[in-house]
């Protein structure tokens, strides 16, 4: 045990000396802060309209009910605005004094569709008397906030793995790895010692990130269980990067490949319909993401957390078994 702690202390000291630990601690927190600032603008996403200032106040107010309105002095300025890169529909009067929409033609279908629908509603004499009831299922957090927060925790976990990987590469480059093989320390102690940093840092960071994002009301124990289980895959990937790479450039190249699989798991979980999620069952990060996302949204039960943890552990174990020989060979 003492030897395990001494390896951890050594890595810890080396990380502090390089300021790496500082960056590793600060960067995800800065990202959390950035996300917090970014969420309001992302939450208010609606269709945008560039409207001629001279139009009736009532018309402008109607468009404001449905989207973000920008006012312009004349048609030329509206055309100039519509020609910019983002999606926006221009609203002007035609030669007969009727409302018309100006678009580029490459917008998503909602932009011209909404413009048409609102104009039609303005033109309609009978506004229709419909009885609407509005209710909600009680989720106050937008997908940008929940997906962003869960992704940040995953980034923090993966950073832990990356640091393990680059510490190993550094040991290889300085030949200290060879020196360690002739010391009384066995491989298991070495692996445990190297792994501690990859578990402790994400836990501290995630707690701080939840605090920054005002998410301390979520079930922290669930989050901790999910982080610890997810850290295992980051550690395995970290060791893999370390043993597969003879130098830092190879380390970065390998990291890129592995990070692609990580991103694919998260993007897949977000973009794919739930009926197609079985395509992602191979990925430990899919299970981690689903668990963390559910815990942040507070829609997950302990039994579902158990399933996600089990999914992470089984897939991590399979990856570890496949990579075991390589890791053993690389560390010897």
């Amino acid at each position: 045990m003492l030897r395990v702690i001494s390896i951890f202390k050594r890595d810890f000291k080396s990380s502090i000396r390089d300021n790496m630990l500082l960056y590793m601690m600060i960067v995800p927190l800065l990202l959390a802060l950035g996300l917090k600032l970014f969420i309001p603008s992302a939450n208010n996403l609606t269709v945008k309209f560039a409207i001629d200032k001279s139009l009736d106040k009532e018309v402008i107010e109607t468009f404001e009910k449905y989207g973000e309105v920008e006012l312009y002095d004349n048609k030329d300025k509206i055309i100039q605005r519509v020609n910019k890169m983002d999606d926006i529909a221009g609203i002007t009067l035609n030669e007969n004094g009727l409302l018309q929409a100006v678009i580029e033609g490459n917008e998503q279908k909602e932009t011209p569709g909404m413009a048409k629908m609102i104009i039609k509603n303005i033109n309609r004499n009978d506004k229709g008397d419909l009885n609407f009831i509005i209710s909600n299922i009680g989720y106050k957090m937008s997908p940008v906030a929940s997906i962003g927060s869960a992704s940040l925790i995953i980034v923090s976990i993966m950073l832990g793995g990356m640091i393990i990987g680059f510490n190993i590469i550094e040991e290889k480059e300085n030949n200290t790895l060879n020196a360690l093989t002739v010391s009384p320390m066995n491989r298991k102690e070495f692996i445990c010692g190297k792994s501690i940093i990859g578990i402790i840092i994400p836990i501290i960071q995630s707690l701080l990130m939840l605090w920054i994002l005002d998410l301390f009301h979520v079930n922290i124990f669930m989050i901790l269980v999910l982080i610890v289980s997810s850290s295992l895959i980051a550690i395995v990937l970290g060791f893999l990067i370390g043993v597969l790479s003879n130098n830092q450039i190879a380390g970065i190249a390998n990291m890129k490949g592995l990070m692609l699989l990580v991103s694919a798991s998260i993007l897949g979980a977000v973009l794919l319909d739930s009926s197609k999620h079985f395509l992602l069952y191979w990925s430990p990060l899919y299970w981690s993401f689903m668990g963390l996302h559910g815990a942040i949204l507070e829609i997950i039960t302990w039994s579902k957390v158990g399933i996600n943890v089990l999914g992470t552990l089984i897939t991590t174990n399979i990856i570890f078994l496949v990579a075991k020989k390589k890791i053993r060979k690389g560390l010897s």
């Binding site: 989207g67 580029e104 033609g105 830092q248 450039i249 190249a253 490949g257």
Partner: protein
């Protein structure tokens, strides 16, 4: 100078190949091709799904018409609608009912949506209830670029421009720093100082290597997914310029650090900060806050999209190219100055 530069280029290509970089570039590009072609569905969408339930009380024909083409989104009960909504955090629910022969419509939201979204859904339902084709046809829509949007692009192909931006263009951002630090450790840069070569050639060679890998990756990704369609020449010019800027920025950040382990996290941070809002703008093009418009990858993303799926917007391509020529030159000068400062310090 050309001889020295070609010598440096050959050396840098060899160093990067020895670091398995070429292999990784090809593997990552092929993985992306596989992902786009076989994993990401053609019919995926970022639109919010709406689940419907029609109660037994409904006799109103028009109310029934609302759900006529909704297929699998029509559910048997309100509870099922809520259950489905809980599984899909972007979805909405609509319960169609009738009381005293009058339609009664319940809109169920997740809880985070703003009033504008609720108003939009109300309007859309109203539109379907009182649909009048004549009313719609009378509204004039002027298309400034009539050739745009002629055919529907499948979702998986649609994300190719984003992949080109994130992989080939931004590849140099991290990799070039690694290449630099390897040589720093080997003392190459000090040895080079006492040779007749100058620092600007030394940096240029690395930037060109990253650009070549970026071009290779672009060709694999685009040809492997959307084929030869689009304006390949413009695409390669855009990727080259984007790659030069990304490599220079990566080098500038790296110049503040002593080794790759130190530089890695700030570089990864910068890349996440730059790419996340651009990714959101790609999926939701109406998202365009001012801070996004000043990020160089933002116009580049639209220009790459235009090059892969041309709509005739040559102005966008030429403006972006002009902008990136300036960015590339300025960033290159700053990079050379940053490394000169470092060498003087050492």
């Amino acid at each position: 100078m050309p001889n020295r530069l070609s010598g440096l280029l050959i050396k840098d290509i060899k160093t990067s190949i020895r670091g398995y970089f070429l292999l990784i570039v090809i593997i990552v590009a092929l993985l992306l091709v596989g992902l786009i072609n076989f994993v990401i569905p053609e019919d995926a969408s970022v639109e919010a799904p709406i689940f419907y339930h029609l109660t037994e009380n409904v006799s109103n024909k028009q109310l029934k018409l609302i759900i006529k083409d909704k297929g699998k989104d029509i559910l048997k009960s309100k509870e099922e609608v809520i259950k489905k909504m809980k599984d899909n955090p972007t979805s909405l629910g609509v319960i169609l009912d009738e009381v005293n022969n009058k339609p009664k419509i319940e809109i169920i939201t997740q809880g985070y949506e703003n009033q504008k979204i609720i108003n939009t859904l109300k309007l859309a339902i109203k539109e379907e209830l009182y649909f009048n084709p004549e009313g719609m046809n009378n509204i004039k829509i002027i298309k400034l670029k009539p050739s745009s949007n002629k055919e529907k692009i499948p979702f998986n192909d649609k994300i190719v421009p984003l992949m080109v931006l994130l992989e080939p263009v931004l590849m140099g951002f991290v990799m070039i720093a690694a290449l630099m630090f390897i040589e720093k450790d080997q003392g190459t840069i000090e040895a080079y100082r006492v040779s007749p070569g100058n620092l600007s050639e030394y940096i240029l060679s690395k930037v060109i290597v990253m650009m070549l890998y970026g071009l290779l990756s672009t060709l694999i990704i685009t040809i492997g997914t959307v084929g030869y369609s689009g304006n390949i020449v413009m695409l390669l010019i855009l990727v080259s310029l984007g790659s030069i800027l990304a490599s220079n920025v990566g080098l500038i950040i790296a110049s503040f650090f002593d080794n790759i382990s130190q530089a890695l996290i700030p570089i990864v941070l910068t890349s996440i900060v730059i790419t996340t809002p651009v990714m959101l703008a790609f999926f939701v093009p109406s998202f365009s806050p001012i801070y996004l418009e000043i990020l160089p990858p933002y116009p580049l993303m639209f220009a790459i999209k235009e090059a892969i799926f041309p709509t005739g917007n040559t102005g966008l391509l030429l403006n972006t190219i002009g902008l990136f020529i300036v960015f590339s030159l300025v960033s290159y000068i700053i990079t050379v100055l940053a490394y000169k400062r470092n060498l003087i310090k050492e």
